[in-house]
Symmetry: C2
């Protein structure tokens, strides 16, 4: 999907948030904001929003000198979710439809906003609430069918913390069928997106093959991905895509199932849903 | 109060909203947004937010060629509120504390967001809900006392639509005591703020003296006000100030009672309240 002018205030909001994570110096923060305002008018909006966000966050890193402003937040998100790993695994084990439960849990991971919900208890309640409510776009029957016909799956991760719930879903998939799953992380730190460091920390790399996409965009921008990722992308029977960024960059691709929460009005409008809605949406599959 | 970097995304959001009111041409909309981003880095943030908003909306008017983007919206707001005039007057008449009810009603006027609430019925319910709930900052005892000691009051209006509820409060004040009230409107159209045209349309100018402040800022920026307004401002025993813009520009002034809803995190933080809270706050009074 393409960027809209509505994305401009949001890019500025993101730049300010990231600057504040990187430095307490308000003069530097203002320098970042001014630089972003200097750069945005030069950019084409005929690209997906995360391609522009990549430029914005690049300026934050360059001007603040902090290559990973969300480092501490990501660490905290991982720790918080790891504390919930055992009780959540138990919920999956005790559920009637283990795959659906693990899938909804992975979507719940995208719902979590630890900025707002600092307490583990709050977070647990959010996940439980989502598990007992319906997905607003719910292609889980197609999702299950596609899984049974797949030998190689690419799983595109989104955020730190959330990656723990991705792990629970991948464990479930692996226990159900003989399947190769490659988990893709961002190539460099970008916002609170999961990188190789997070994959190692939560044990994802012990569970399945993890590779970097070679890009520091908060999305999967194919033109920026390594040849290894591109080859896997073309060979994969199915792609599981987590979060808004991956949706924004891959909404036109086929063989993809998007698992996300619609977090902004622009993405919600593209999907025909309301902000806050939870989505499991399958794009068309290539013919055999 | 001074502007914060948090205001930048909001200025862009406002510029986009106003551009869309003014034109359907997306190229012109982008030109506005780019021009705002070109201008903001040149401005000092050592001024109140509405001083910057004035520049932003000036660019919208200049580039779109539309001097009053909110013309239709304001007309609709006035019409909607005028339909509620009689039932709301009846509520004041039937209430135990008529002044408090009329005051809370005037604050309710600032709560209304007709962008969200298009139906008269919804709006009525919002007003009723506010009347039956407590103000979060509630200086109404001081407010009443100041009123009884006042001979000349300046009443700084805020938005179209809302001005109908200001009229109800002023009617109440005039029926209670022998008092001179001067209602101040913006000098030129700015966002959905009330101008002389709105004051005439809702009958405010038949009720009390109405004068323009001589400025097109969405606030009362004293350095921009006419000498007539400045003289009144210094002579007045008390100033009733409606809405965020007037608060932002006059928060340091004395003899002022601020009636508003805290609509953004920056103003809410200044006031020590939450976004959405309703406020009747009196600043210190000059000694006799």
């Amino acid at each position: 999907m393409k960027a809209y002018l509505d994305c401009v205030p949001c890019f500025l909001r993101q730049a300010l948030e990231a600057s504040r994570m990187a430095t307490k110096d308000e003069n530097v923060q203002r320098k970042v904001i001014d630089s972003v305002m200097g750069r945005l008018p030069m950019l084409s909006f005929n690209v997906s929003p995360p391609e522009i966000a990549q430029v914005v966050h690049g300026l934050v890193k360059e001007i603040t000198g902090e290559s990973d402003p969300y480092r501490e937040i990501k660490k905290k998100h991982n720790q918080t979710l790891l504390k919930l790993y055992s009780p959540l695994k138990e919920i999956v084990s005790n559920s009637q439809d283990r795959l659906l439960t693990a899938t909804k849990m992975a979507i719940a991971g995208n719902v979590i906003d630890l900025g707002v919900q600092n307490e583990v208890k709050d977070l647990e309640n959010t996940i439980y609430r989502l598990l007992s409510s319906d997905l607003v776009i719910d292609n889980h029957t197609d999702f299950k069918e596609a899984l049974t016909n797949s030998h190689l799956i690419i799983y595109l991760g989104d955020n730190a913390g959330e990656i723990v719930l991705d792990k629970i879903l991948i464990e479930e998939l692996k226990s159900m069928m003989d399947i190769e799953i490659v988990f893709i992380v961002r190539g460099e730190p970008i916002i609170n997106d999961a990188t190789m460091e997070d994959a190692k920390l939560v044990g994802m790399s012990d569970l399945t093959r993890v590779i970097s996409n070679g890009s520091d965009a908060p999305a999967t921008i194919l033109s920026q991905c390594s040849s290894e990722v591109l080859e896997l992308f073309s060979k994969a029977d199915m792609i599981i895509s987590k979060g808004q960024g991956n949706y924004e960059s891959l909404s036109e691709e086929d063989r993809v199932f998007f698992l996300l929460k619609a977090k902004c009005p622009v993405v919600a409008r593209e999907l025909g849903v309301n902000v806050g809605d939870t989505i499991l949406k399958g794009n068309s599959f290539r013919e055999d």
